[in-house]
Symmetry: C2
Subunit: 143 residues, 2 copies
DNA sequence: GTAGGTGCAAATCGTTTGCAGTACA
DNA sequence: TGTACTGCAAACGATTTGCACCTAC
């Protein structure tokens, strides 16, 4: 499911958040790219159309969108905290270490492993993080 | 394979790094715990035995040890950059979200999935990150 | 003796917070 | 109209850098 600006706006409203021009701009930016973006990168993009926006607003908007699971936090490599549009439901990421392209994939089930680990260690498992890092086709060519 | 201080020292030397008392102290601290430790936590521990050490030295030492793959970076949740002794070879982590205990586990092979993804997406996959977050037995009791 | 390592202080980066003014519902 | 949102500035924590001194080899 590809998230549209419209869809995001609706979800915001549903949860009692106001729909401001700044939030629209952030949503549009995130929805218009496949990349994972850091808050700073989002700020730069949004800033072009909307020069008066503050970086703070980006952070606050990202917090909200993440809470509503409309976007999705990534932990690739050193640079923590970058975001990408999040298809809802459970999925994992394949991230290009060069250009930052992110591909979501689903259909890989870790439940069995989770149960085995839980049995073996006594842990009550709350969640997991599965990300693959590699080089996308384009970046391979340009090497 | 459990890393000893001796082993670490040898590896350092092998790669042309000098063996200073400060580095010894950092190594000893990391080798003596199962937890994942943030640079700041390592600093506090080391500082007890070695009050003149600077936080900067911790950072520089960690960089080196990580480069030599003697320790292992974790990405649990929000707090990035904590380290744990790294058994060599491939393994994944199970991390307690409350107390920070880390359990390494091996024997789960992602090669097949990696190949499938590579075939489907054209990515040249370099590595991956698999971490489970949960509550360890102790922390479950103390709830 | 020398290259590399150390510790300090200051710079830097990313993120959060307090607050007064503003705008959506 | 009232509450939530915004933007600024300043605070904050973690990490890095420049530099003069020191020390393991």
């Amino acid at each position: 499911m590809r998230l549209t600006e419209r869809k995001i706006a609706a979800t915001l409203r549903q949860h009692g958040y106001k729909l401001t021009p700044q939030r629209r701009a952030v949503m549009r930016t995130i929805a218009s790219t496949q990349d994972h973006l850091t808050p700073a990168a989002i700020y730069q993009k949004v800033h072009k159309d909307h020069p008066s926006i503050g970086l703070v607003t980006i952070y606050r908007t990202l917090d909200i969108l993440a809470k509503l699971e409309l976007i999705c936090e990534l932990h690739a490599g050193g640079s923590c905290r970058s975001y990408t549009v999040g298809a809802r439901g459970h999925h994992h990421h394949l991230i290009c270490s060069n250009c930052g392209e992110v591909i979501d994939f689903t259909g890989y089930d870790l439940t069995q492993l989770e149960q085995r680990l839980s049995r073996q260690t006594g842990f009550e498992i709350e969640g997991h993080l599965l990300e693959f890092i590699g080089l996308c086709q384009n970046c391979q060519k340009n090497d």
